[in-house]
């Protein structure tokens, strides 16, 4: 998995710094490592975000929620909305351009330019707030199985 994220701790107020440092966790299990078996230009990639995205008709995320929402790659990503319960991150970037959180257009461009092999049929959204990582285990296992069914080789993960 690729985890493209994060911010400078020194830029944050003291209370926010302490709050985020309190979230340090040990590894969730034994080290997991997959050495590259194919070149990047042959990999099928999916997006997973923890931004609490879903379509308007989908069930909104609860304040704490370990479920996920599938997002078909062929759907209009501009119709995604966000029901993330946290007020501790900027949402105006998402309002201006979905790709700043969920870079679906960029992923399709990379496939078009043959930098990656292909784009997954389905991508996934979680709402990362208020729960310990272990509480996402069942949903994560389910999504991993779905990704395998889709033939996905790697995931581009965007936390907020």
């Amino acid at each position: 998995m690729i985890d493209s994220s994060m911010v400078k701790l020194s830029d944050l107020p003291d209370y926010e710094r302490k709050h985020l440092l309190s979230k340090n966790r040990p590894p969730l299990g034994p080290p997991v490592w997959t050495a590259p078996k194919k070149s990047l230009s042959n990999l099928r990639i999916a997006l997973i975000t923890t931004a609490g995205l879903h379509f308007k008709d989908d069930r909104a995320f609860n304040f704490t929620d370990a479920t996920y929402r599938p997002i078909p790659g062929s759907s209009d990503a501009n119709k995604l909305m966000m029901s993330h319960s946290s007020v501790n991150f900027d949402k105006t970037g998402f309002v201006e351009d979905i790709n700043v959180v969920f870079p679906i257009d960029r992923l399709h461009e990379l496939a078009r330019d043959k930098k990656i092999g292909s784009v997954a049929d389905i991508h996934y959204s979680f709402m990362g707030a208020g729960l310990e990582p272990e509480e996402f285990e069942a949903s994560s296992i389910e999504v991993a199985k779905l990704l395998k069914k889709d033939g996905v080789d790697a995931v581009f993960l965007t936390p907020v």
């Binding site: 690729i2 994220s5 969730l28 105006t92 990582p133």
Partner: protein, 222 residues
Amino acid sequence: MRENTESLEPPRALWVSFPLGRPLGIPGDAIFQLQVMVSALDLLNRSTGPVLENYLTDLPPTNVEAEIAACPISFRKNSISDSDWTSRIQKELALLQPWHDISMGKRNGYSLSRLNDSNQQEMTTKLGEMLDKKTIPPNELVWLKRAIEELKFFYMEAMTAQPGNLSHEALDSIFWQDSVLGEALIQCHQILVNQGQAQMARIIASRQAIEIAGRKPKTQGA
């Protein structure tokens, strides 16, 4: 946070210095976003790990005060003198409506907010009554959080449809210092704290929002 990732040790991670909520950096800048993405995907070529690498490009610096001084947005909070919250919020929404219409035009008629002509009156009246009575019934907390999110997305869409390309820091300052809704949310926060519901108060307005609202306003138009 880099520190969180260091301790969790995911197989491959790219650390970027961008604000929380913007993992790809700059909205509307496809080239910048692609560079971030390619750097992250390149980690798939590594044969040993875990890998935690720094992305070396920061966002361009912003001058929030200069942005606000030049900003065309004026909420006229101080000129909306109605005594009840419902009227104040509704008047502000009416001022923003043309900008929200432009935002919807850019999105082919779609909005991130569920606020519409049929529920706007009901939503603002209910919120206004809670504020006027200085009481938020516990069984309305879920409703309140959802209503506030719908209103905030309406505001964000309207504000970002206006000319200029304001940083999120400038948008935050203008919203929390100059808007009636920003003031209303700070009031909701205080009511919840007074009711002994500090945890709920924190998901209505962040500590940073409270801090921004308490600063001296910098806008020219307010």
